[in-house]
């Protein structure tokens, strides 16, 4: 970690909150500060409290639209994989008759099945080989839906219906655990137009499409007075608008002070240019390392609903999406590895796609899918699956890959072992998870 002045003095926080970035830069002491503190860090950073349970920062990357798990990670020893997907199947790693860019990357045999990573995800291979990427296959909702909206809702809620109203599994985790830092001013950030359902119900959470754009419009000289008036307007208000209004009012100026443009990734991380996910992950790293208390981030990536011209190979749609995904995740991993903060990142999608390709060289809504878990505390380097098989009798009633591992088994283990929250009954009500050795215990 960079050397930063540490304080738990709340008056310090108050002072900080009164000082805008531009005014701060004008202060004579600023130059001396900047000599020891990276310029992008806000002036007051908050130490993690030693008495709190050590826990990872958790990041969810959600692939909206239903990513084609059989293209992300191909079961290439299954002969039916090739008969069902004549145009879209990835070639075997050692198939010298196929162009290199059509061959998957060997992930080894697991439970008698050989799996291969999509070649566009090559940046993830070293992380896998280092044992910090766990691939779970034939996972997802065990009693799912082929509706995007139902499947996303059920998955993000962590249950089919939510007696609490409208809360997500990650929101409930945060609500049922104390802040990782008692001085946290912000615990969760949705890098999205609005809070994803995953985070709904989280205390101290805000949404920003671009964390770098957080700031309050209008005249500098009246800013504090106007924010005070807004605080007063919303203080007496008991409706649904109040929690978010208060979170924003409490965090506005601190977030405004993080200089994302000046942020220097560590570990030699190279975030791809011109990619929304890479931009969001880079901003997440800056936000997390600024240590204002952020312990959860949720990011969405769209474009996975590939009903036609799926494009698994160079120049194709999915090929490009996967290249961007793999490169961005690898950069984030390198960046975070260069810090002292542990993280767990999960990649989820609402369902896999049909085992067979359709007449439009695409795939339709299916069932079992892959999921990734990445981090220092992940027991990876393998494909975890109760592989159901691709023979006709092994597929589900619609002829698609079955779901044999409930995605909540993995998430619950992460919540307990990596996020330090044993209250799984709150996070996944009515569900008894089976731990599958996806993690090492935090320590």
């Amino acid at each position: 970690m960079p050397t930063v002045p540490m304080t738990h003095d709340c008056r310090g926080c108050q002072d900080y909150l009164q000082v805008s970035r531009r005014r701060f830069m004008a202060l004579s002491g600023a130059a001396a500060m900047l000599a020891t503190v990276p310029a992008w860090v806000p002036r007051v950073a908050f130490a993690r409290d030693g008495s709190s349970t050590p826990r990872d920062v958790v990041i969810q990357v959600y692939l909206r639209g239903g990513a084609d798990g059989l293209s992300l990670v191909a079961p290439f020893s299954e002969s039916r994989y090739y008969t069902m997907r004549p145009a879209l199947a990835l070639a075997q790693p050692d198939n010298a008759g196929a162009a290199v860019e059509r061959r998957c990357l060997d992930l080894g045999q697991h439970g008698g099945v050989a799996f291969g990573l999509h070649p566009s995800l090559s940046a993830l291979l070293p992380i896998y080989q280092a044992g910090q990427l766990l691939i779970v296959h034939a996972t997802g909702l065990t009693n799912g839906s082929r509706s995007h909206f139902d499947a996303q809702r059920w998955m993000e809620q962590g249950q089919r219906s939510d007696p609490l109203g409208n809360t997500g599994w990650l929101g409930r985790h945060l609500a049922s655990s104390p802040p990782a830092s008692p001085t946290a001013i912000l615990r969760a950030m949705a890098i999205a137009d609005t809070l994803q359902l995953t985070l709904a119900g989280a205390p101290q959470a805000i949404a920003a499409d671009d964390p770098a754009s957080v700031g309050f419009a209008g005249s500098w000289s009246t800013k504090s007075a106007r924010l005070d008036a807004l605080a007063e307007l919303y203080a007496g208000n008991t409706d649904i608008l109040r929690p978010a209004a208060q979170s924003v009012l409490n965090t506005l100026e601190t977030l405004d002070d993080i200089d994302y443009d000046a942020y220097q990734p560590s570990g030699g991380a190279q975030y791809p240019d011109d990619d929304s996910l890479a931009y969001s992950l880079r901003a997440s790293a800056a936000l997390i390392k600024a240590q204002i208390g952020v312990e959860a981030v949720a990011i969405d990536v769209g474009g996975w609903d590939t009903h036609s011209d799926q494009g698994n190979f160079p120049g194709g749609h999915l090929h490009g999406l996967l290249r961007a995904l793999g490169d961005a995740l690898a950069a984030f991993h390198a960046d975070m590895a260069g810090s002292s903060i542990n993280y767990t990142l999960v990649v989820l999608s609402e369902f896999g796609r049909t085992a067979s390709e359709n007449g439009s060289v695409g795939t339709d809504h299916g069932n079992g899918n892959v999921m990734f878990a990445i981090g220092q505390g992940i027991s990876g380097g393998r494909v975890l699956a109760n592989w159901p098989g691709l023979q006709e009798a092994q597929l589900d009633d619609s002829g698609d890959l079955r779901t044999t591992i409930d995605y909540r088994d993995i998430l619950a283990e992460i919540v307990q072992n990596r996020l330090g929250n044993a209250d799984l009954a709150s996070v996944f009500p009515g569900f008894t998870p089976t731990f599958r050795g996806a993690t090492t215990l935090a320590g």
């Binding site: 509706s147 809360t167 049922s176 008036a229 007063e232 339709d364």
Partner: protein
């Protein structure tokens, strides 16, 4: 703003400046006429009209207590107590029928009264938009006409997207057919199509020929038009369906989202069979030799149609070959349009849109019955829905960004210049750029989705009265004309933004801020920004 998206916006702005927008800057001002211009005919028509859980909380451990308050907050609209005097009820009717109270709208409603105003909105006269939309020269054209425009730097897709999006914003602010515009908003979400790529031109045409054409007609007619709409077919891939490889995307969504609802009782077999029924439904492409004027219009191609006999929702639909094959799809859409599940699904959504996020069963029953009795007449359903007895018990509805932006400009009597790119950017930041919702379920209606992101709203509302947006002129001296004392000014804000019904606690905060320097125009602008940001202005 996310730089990646900002870059896209910039690109649009540059193209926009080189597009068809050739009017001299100052000449194309689309101002709001100060006086209501209600024709005698409109008045007569209006005046002469006759009005016809709590969940299971056990077993959730300590979290229940933690959520006891939050649960209220998460599901509860504000506890604003509207008194039931006729003026408050009229105010609520105007709020639900429109994109917000303007001086013009308030005067119209007060002169016509509850029943007269509602009838006016259900049988509107002219929208009064001719001059303001004059420069949007693509709105009335066919796809083939738009494609055939040969002009330097003219990008038919981008120009179509821009004109449709900006026309939508201007209509929300200025159209005299306010309820029509709110219904167009509703059905544009219900039958969502994202205006991107080739769907930009097609969506512009669809807005006219599917949504607007049928919005005061019947829902089954709109549903059939939507099924045959090239924009929808491109969006949900029905154009790629073939006799041998039927595509299930549209068949699934049309039942789940457009008609029966996800719990509508259909099966995977129904989806597969509807896909077969709709094979051959597509559109004329540039390369079709018979295209010409037909390019971008509906085409039934018998050679691509699966002629098997099919069973759909329990009915046998006999396979037909040749030109008659189209009848199978028409029959299937009629089954959907006439289905009791569709009536109830649509009635429920309309009640959620216009009355309350958790509508009463009695309201849904009544609107469903109207659907069934009238063959899905949309105005008839709205007349049932907006009756005083229902509206009296309605709950506040959170304004989505387009509604908020339009209502703020309406309240301030703002003049939007024709090159109104500022507003599109503001809407993008707030998460509701017109026609840019990608999944087929349309921009969400539930308040929980929108409530957690107040900052872009506050920033827009703080900036607007300042004249921060070069494309939106706010005349503060005129707004406060004749208001001399602090109390006068506060009363003016209350009257123009809230029809005089701003809750006292919020009024106090605004007034205290205003009192800091009541004669400075900067302070007036800031007080207006706070009033627009107050909780009361976020709800209808």
């Amino acid at each position: 703003m996310n730089p990646m998206r900002a870059a896209a916006s910039d690109a649009r702005a540059v193209e926009g400046d080189q597009g068809l927008d050739e009017s001299p800057g100052g000449a194309a001002v689309a101002g709001l006429t100060a006086e209501p211009m209600i024709s005698r005919r409109d008045l007569l028509r209006g005046a002469g009209s006759r009005m016809a859980n709590r969940g299971v909380m056990a077993g959730l451990g300590g979290l229940v207590a933690a959520f006891a308050g939050a649960r209220q907050a998460l599901s509860a609209p504000p506890t604003v107590e509207y008194d039931l005097d006729p003026r408050a009820l009229l105010y609520r009717l105007v709020q639900r029928c429109s994109f917000g109270v303007s001086a013009w709208e308030a005067q119209l409603a007060e002169s016509l009264g509850y029943e007269g105003y509602l009838e006016y909105q259900l049988k509107p006269g002219s929208d009064g938009m001719r001059a303001r939309l004059a420069k949007f020269n693509l709105l009335s054209r066919t796809a083939a006409q738009i494609y055939s425009i040969k002009k330097k730097n003219f990008d038919s897709g981008e120009e179509s997207r821009k004109q449709l999006s900006r026309a939508m914003i201007l209509r929300a602010i200025y159209s005299r057919k306010q309820l029509v515009e709110r219904l167009v908003e509703f059905f544009s979400d219900h039958l969502n199509v994202v205006a991107e790529e080739d769907k930009r031109v097609l969506k512009l045409v669809e807005d006219r020929l599917v949504i607007r054409k049928h919005v005061l007609g019947t829902f089954p007619a709109m549903l059939l038009a939507s099924a045959q709409s090239p924009a929808m077919m491109r969006y949900l891939n029905n154009d790629e369906s073939t006799a041998f490889a039927p595509n299930e995307n549209y068949p699934r969504e049309v039942m789940e989202l457009h008609s029966l609802g996800v719990d509508g009782g259909y099966t995977q077999d129904d989806i597969a069979n509807l896909a077969k029924i709709l094979t051959g439904w597509g559109l004329y492409y540039e390369w079709d030799k018979e295209a010409g004027k037909l390019r971008g219009t509906f085409r039934f191609n018998p050679d691509n149609h699966n002629t098997d006999n099919k069973t759909f929702l329990g009915q046998v639909i006999a396979g037909q070959s040749g030109a008659a094959g189209i009848q199978e799809g028409i029959q299937a859409m009629q089954i959907l349009g006439g289905h009791p599940k569709t009536a109830r699904f649509l009635a429920t959504k309309l009640c959620k849109k216009f009355l309350a996020d958790q509508p009463r069963t009695a309201w849904i029953d009544a609107v469903t019955a109207t659907y069934t009795q009238t063959g899905g007449s949309i105005p008839a359903m709205m007349r049932t829905l907006l009756q005083p007895d229902f509206l009296r018990d309605a709950r506040p509805k959170l304004k989505r960004p387009i509604h908020l932006v339009a209502s703020a400009i309406r309240a301030l009597d703002g003049r939007v210049l024709s090159s109104d790119s500022d507003l599109e950017w503001q809407l993008e930041r707030a998460g509701q750029q017109p026609f840019q919702w990608h999944p087929p379920n349309g921009y969400p209606e539930a308040p929980g989705y929108w409530a957690n992101n107040p900052l872009p709203r506050w920033n827009f509302l703080a900036s607007l009265p300042w004249g921060e947006f070069k494309d939106v002129l706010i005349d503060l001296p005129r707004f406060f004309d004749g208001a001399v004392t602090l109390n006068d000014k506060m009363a003016r804000i209350n009257q123009r933004l809230f029809m005089g019904l701003l809750p006292a606690a919020e009024a106090q905060v605004i007034q205290a801020y205003l009192a800091g320097a009541p004669d400075e125009s900067a302070r007036l602008a800031e007080a207006l920004g706070l009033a627009l940001s107050a909780p009361a202005f976020q709800w209808t």
